[in-house]
Structure formats: C-alpha cells, structure tokens
Amino acid sequence: MPSSAAQADPIPANSIPTDRRLALHRTMQTIRATETTLSRLFADGEIPGFIHLSVGQEAVAAGVVGALGPQDSFATTHRGHGHVLARGVRLDLFFKEIMGRAGGICGGRGGSMHVADLSLGVLGANGIVGAGLPLATGSALAHQTRRTGGVAVAFFGDGAMAEGALHECLNMAALWTLPMVFVCENNGWSEFSPTSTQFAATLDKLGAAFGVPHRRVDGNDVAAVAEAAAEVVEAARGGGPRILECLTTRWHGHFEGDPQRYRNADEIAGLPQNDPLRRSAEALLAAGVEESALAALVDSVDAEIRDALEAARADALPDADAAFRDVYTPTTLTAGA
C-alpha cells in the first residue's frame, strides 16, 4: 500500500522560481490563445465536427503536464487540447489536426477528440468518457514492467467519476502499486448537468477506500497545481498511485455552440474573477516581472499561433487512399486481403 501523501512535506507553492512561473504562464497563455482562436474558427465554420474547449482550465494542464518528465505518459479526455499543448505538441500539427488537414498530427483522421502524440507519450484525447483511465493504468503497468521509471497520468472529468472504470482502475493501480496519477479536472459540470446531481461520492473518500492518497488543489492557481503535481508525480514514481483533484472552471459551453441555457448567468459572469491567467499574471507582477514582459509574451504566443494557423489553412485536405493504408500496420507475416 502506498504511504499517505498527506504526510509528505509539501514544497510551498510560492517557492517556485520566477522563470519557472513564467514558463507555466506562457503555457497557459498558449492554451488560452489557442482555444480562443479555435472558438472563433469554429464559429466561422473553419472546423468540422464538434470541439470541447478548456478555457478556464489552463492551470491544470500547465501545472500537471509541466510536472512530467520525458519518459512519462498520459491519456486525456474529449477536453484535452490543453494537456496536449502543454506537452509541447507542434502547434502547426495541432491546428492542422483540429481543422482536419492532411498534415495534422493524426493526419486529420481524429480531430479534436483524438489528438495524440505518441512521440511525447500522449496516448490521445478520447471520445469515450472514462476510457483514458484504463489506458493510463495499462501505460503505468508497462512503465512498471519495463522499468522505464515513467509515470502515467489519467486525466478525467468530474462527470467521468460515475463510470465504473474509475473503480476498476483505482483498484488495479492500488493492488499493483502502479506509478500512476489520477488527475480529476473537477469543473463542476458533466455536460449540461451539475455533477453534484450525478455523483454521490467524493474522490477523497473513494481514494481512501482503495488506499490511494488524494490531494485537492485550487485548479485555477497554476503554482499550486504545479507544486501539488510535482509532489504526487514523484510520489507515484516509486510509491504507487496518487489522486490529484483540481477544482477548476469551464468557461465555455460543453461544446462550442452550446448556448448553456442550463447555466446561471451569475455563475458565468463570475468566472473571470477566478481566471487562472489573470491570477498568474498578478503573481508574476508581484514577483517583479515587468508588465511589458507579459505583454511581449502574449504577442509572441499570438505570433506562433498566427503562423501555425496560416500553415494549417494552407495545408491540403487528406486523401482517402492514404488513410486506408493506416488501418493495419504493414507486416511481414503473410497477410490476406
């Protein structure tokens, strides 16, 4: 059984050095600006299908993914742009994918719900709520068996807690002391329903039932997330599974185009007060970073996005014959049709 994380001596969040905080801020800015751009592109009909944006949840992505080493892996959700961007996926390949272009990281075959970058240990966004939990469990099992030293992270939403996969995976991870972190992005919403009407348990008590230590953080405070993530990831590396629950906020609709009639106007109006970007900027200014440096950071991110978007718009649409060739892996085993 893993020892309780509650006994660990936490690194105080404010001990994070300023350059690290700036890097986290830049990641968040990249996610925010990308998501905002995608929102506009979607409204303009430049993105097919449907997309789920993580505006308001940037601190979780930046903080958790920032705590991972190169050997680590993660599985994410339908709302996974932030995690993949935080991991450093090439921005042009990302835009091409979401826009369904040939040069997308997945050849335009997956789109928003299936962005993956196996070269970075990103096992994919997922269209099936809860499905990332067993993927990450298996990835952790592989890390353990292969002795890679890696940790696997499962991102999941609060609505996903109702799926039996959470129970099954907490159990396997606990039984086998897997190097795994369960990261819940608790934004209070499960599609159009408040999760409080959908789930009767709490994650801390569930963790306690399986002997999996649980930490809850303010998921809109990137320094707090980064500190907590660093702690649980390192604890999981040798000591078995951990749960990190990040309380956060979903600014946009469940999907783009969702009019959010089910949501209280006051709640929506109040969201910017808890803006992880604004809070991070304030902390940076308080730490002596110049206003102009932050403005330059915004400009530089915008320029990157502009370039990526331009490349994406210039890219061709994918070709059906090429796609067909990736249904199976070419093999030397004699294969039929």
Partner: protein, 324 residues
C-alpha cells in the same frame, strides 16, 4: 393538416404519447431530462411527465442499461437513450446477456419490454468514436429486435411499435436525419418486421435502411433518367427483416443491390445477400451487390468522411453493374 415535424421532434412526440398512454413507460439517459436530451429528442418530457419517469442518469452506460432490464422485469417499460451508438460498447452485457436472453433462459416466465434508443451514422464529422453503425451486432443476437426508422413518419410509428413490443428493441436513429422535416400519422399501424416499398420499379431492387434511403432515392432518380426503373425497399426492421418483401421484389426484378451506411464487411447487407443467394438463387440474373462503408474506421476530416459514406454514385454504379 398538422405542420411538418422534424425527425427529432417525431421521436419526442412518440415518447410523449407512449408515456401518456402507458404509465409503465419511463425514460432514462444522460441529460435526457432537464436538458431535454443532447439531440433534443426528449425535450419537454420532464415537464410533461415528471422526474420519476424522466430520469437524468450519471455517465454509467453499463449499469444504466442493466437497470433498465431490472426495471423491465419489475413492471416498467423503460426507454433508455445511449447518446451515440459507439457508447453501446459499454453496455453490451446488459443488452446481449441479460435483456435478450431473459425470456428464453427463464423458460418464458417473463418478457423484457424495454427499448434502447441510440443514434448511429456519420455526416457530422463527429469522428471515429461518434459515428459508427453497429446494428449488425444486435441483429446477430436472438431475443433482440432491431429497427432503423428512415423517415419522420417512421420515427414516430416505429418507436411507438418498439415501445409496445413486449421484447427488447434496439431503435437505431441516424443523427444526420434529426433535422429532416416530414409528417407523422399518430394512427399509422405499428408493425414489427414490415418493410416499406419506397418506390416501385421493375429493373432492379435496391434494399436499404436508415439514412442511405436518401442516397438510394437520388440514385433511383438518376437511373430513371436513363430509363432504368429501380425499386427501393426501405427495410425499416433489420431484425426481423421482411424476407417476404425482399424476395417478392427480387422475383420481379431479378437484380439486387443492398446499400447501407455501416461497414460493408460482415454488415447487415451480408445476411440479406446471403439469404438471397440461398433462398432466391433461381430468381437472380446477376450477382448480388452490396454498397456499404469501406473497411476502415470513419475519419474526422471532411474529405475522408465524404469518401467514406456510401452515396448515390456508388449505388448507381452497382445497379448498372447488375444490369451489365
């Protein structure tokens, strides 16, 4: 004359009327109550019938469908919604091992009067995990019935029939049809297993179901312009499917093309083709051809989805090839 309805509203009205007619009917699903359903197929029903009979459920597909079986065995007639047919992968035990078999394996002691409604199909660029057509799985399972309404009228009548049927029925809607407009007839006969001749013709038979009906109609129009009269059979029911109607048409036209959106290999069309090849072999003047999706997952990108979905071009080519 009533105003034309959208397909999705015909579904809602069928649910409403069934609930009004029978207090045992209840709805369960994710966001079906307060939000009126992810596709609005249950809009207004919470207000009309109250929170006990219209239940928002947690994201727990496996147990949700299992609970519907238990409720059906205890006097209710549950209608469960699985938001996308792809998610039914999570609930196959409840459908296949429990609902489908309970009557048989308990020696006829009970029926399991439940309906599982779920949308399949592409055309919305919803990608590989939100577009699959898996109806062939259910058609393979004794004890289940499977229906796929293609028109607004059938969206109403066949759902009413499914709810009234004493055994478990999988009702497969096509999400690309939800916005379709048409009329319903609340008094239309509610039949199980009956196909509909959508268009009469003498030269070849097109057997289809679901959204592919519209590709078949476009194909028939184009063929007619060239003097080829294709008969279109809208199967409606996939299990049981209307052998009589299909065989009668083949006996008349001697040529047949089966078209559906699902992956062709091991799809619904395989069974129909196989039965024609065994039971109507002597009526055939040409190979039995199928038009279905290629053997690959459905992709997100527009070009890829468009190339993937069976269309009028492919149906026209197949019909002509049976006449060549």
């Amino acid at each position: 004359m009533p105003k034309p309805l959208r397909y999705v509203n015909a579904v809602a009205q069928a649910l409403n009327d069934a609930m009004a007619a029978d207090p045992a009917v209840m709805l369960m699903g994710e966001d079906v109550a307060a939000a009126g359903g992810p596709f609005k197929a249950t809009r207004g029903l919470l207000d009309a019938h109250g929170p006990e009979r219209v239940r928002d459920t947690p994201i727990s597909e496996a147990s949700l469908v299992g609970a519907a079986v238990g409720a059906a065995l205890t006097g209710m007639k549950p209608v469960v919604e699985i938001m996308f047919m792809d998610f039914v992968t999570l609930a196959m035990d409840a459908v296949v091992n429990q609902a489908a078999k309970a009557r048989f394996m308990f020696g006829g002691q009970c029926s399991v009067p439940m309906v599982l409604r779920t949308p399949h199909g592409g055309g919305l660029n919803a990608g590989p995990q939100h577009s699959q057509c898996l109806e062939a799985w259910f058609a393979h399972i004794p004890g289940l019935r499977v229906v796929c309404p293609a028109t607004v009228a059938d969206a109403y009548s066949l759902l009413r029939a499914a709810i009234e049927a004493p055994d478990p029925v999988v009702v497969v809607e096509n999400k690309a049809l939800y916005a379709l407009q048409g009329d319903i007839d609340v008094n239309a006969p509610r039949e199980v297993g009956k196909a509909r001749i959508d268009r009469a013709g003498r030269d070849a038979t097109i057997v289809t179901y679901g959204a592919t009906l519209y590709a078949a109609r476009a194909a028939a129009d184009r063929l007619a312009a060239e003097g080829i009269e294709a008969e279109i059979i809208d199967l409606r029911w996939i299990q049981p499917w209307d052998e009589e109607a299909v065989f009668a048409s083949v006996a008349k036209t001697h040529r047949v093309v089966i078209a559906h959106e699902a992956v062709q290999a091991f799809g619904v069309g395989a069974e129909i083709a196989a039965r024609i090849a065994s039971d109507a072999f002597d009526d055939l003047d040409a190979p039995v051809l199928r038009v279905g999706a290629p053997f690959m997952p459905i992709a997100f990108a527009k070009t890829l989805e468009a190339a993937y979905l069976p269309d009028a071009d492919r149906i026209v080519a197949a019909v002509k090839s049976t006449l060549a």
